[in-house]
Amino acid sequence: MVALDILYFAWVREGVGKDGETIDHPGAEMTVAELIGQLAERGGGYAQAFAETGRLRAALDQNFVSLDTKLGEARELALFPPVTGG
């Protein structure tokens, strides 16, 4: 079974309560938004962290993508708020 590493940053990490986790890859056709929906259904910190998708950003294999992007062959998904560096 192929795996997908999920990484969380900033308040997403604090909400979920961990830096990341590895799940069974849900398939190339699933979008980032659909996977976020599945994570939110776990309830608790997940439901809270993923309540407002408008406040979320994502990267697949370390490239920024929009939430309607399909997971494809990506092996690493990162979920986080809009960046605030500099």
């Binding site: 900033a10 370390q62 990162a78 708020p81 605030t84 560096g85 500099g86």
Partner: protein, 148 residues
């Protein structure tokens, strides 16, 4: 050929040493931007979170883009992570070119990009105990938009 120096880490840095390095490249024009943690509003400390695997690659990519857009002799990008207090430096961008406009514009381009597109997140801790993640600002996105 452009000399590029990129560093992301907890250590402080010396802007003077970076400027000397850029001045020595012989271009005639050196521009720099230094970002420092601002105090006020009871801010006691700041923590910078980042996505290490992505940060280095993304900065290298944007530095390459700056090199393609402007005739640069040298580029320095330094971004700190971890715990910082008011008055400490967070970020440094320095550019060297034979052309004044190239040095100034590429420096502005790189810092606008770092503010809007590099995977860093700031959390501020205040004297009254509050700790809040900084919200992204629309004006930062506008600053980036002008580079197309």
């Amino acid at each position: 050929m452009t000399e590029a120096h990129i560093a992301v880490g907890e250590a402080d840095f010396d802007p003077a040493a970076q400027l000397s390095r850029l001045e020595a490249l012989g271009g005639g024009a050196v521009a720099s931007f230094t970002g420092i943690v601002r105090g006020g509003d009871g801010l006691q400390a700041m923590r910078l979170d980042h996505y290490p695997a992505m940060t280095q690659a993304q900065i290298a990519r944007i530095v390459a883009e700056a090199q393609a857009r402007w005739p640069l002799l040298g580029v320095v990008v330094i971004h700190r992570v971890g715990d910082l207090t008011p008055g400490e430096r967070i970020v440094f961008v320095g550019t060297a070119s034979s052309h004044r406009a190239a040095a100034l514009e590429s420096c502005a381009f790189l810092i606008d990009w770092l503010k809007t597109s590099a995977p860093f997140w700031k959390k501020e801790r205040f004297a009254d105990g509050r700790a809040e993640w900084v919200e992204a600002r629309a004006e930062d996105d506008a600053a980036r938009e002008r580079w197309g």
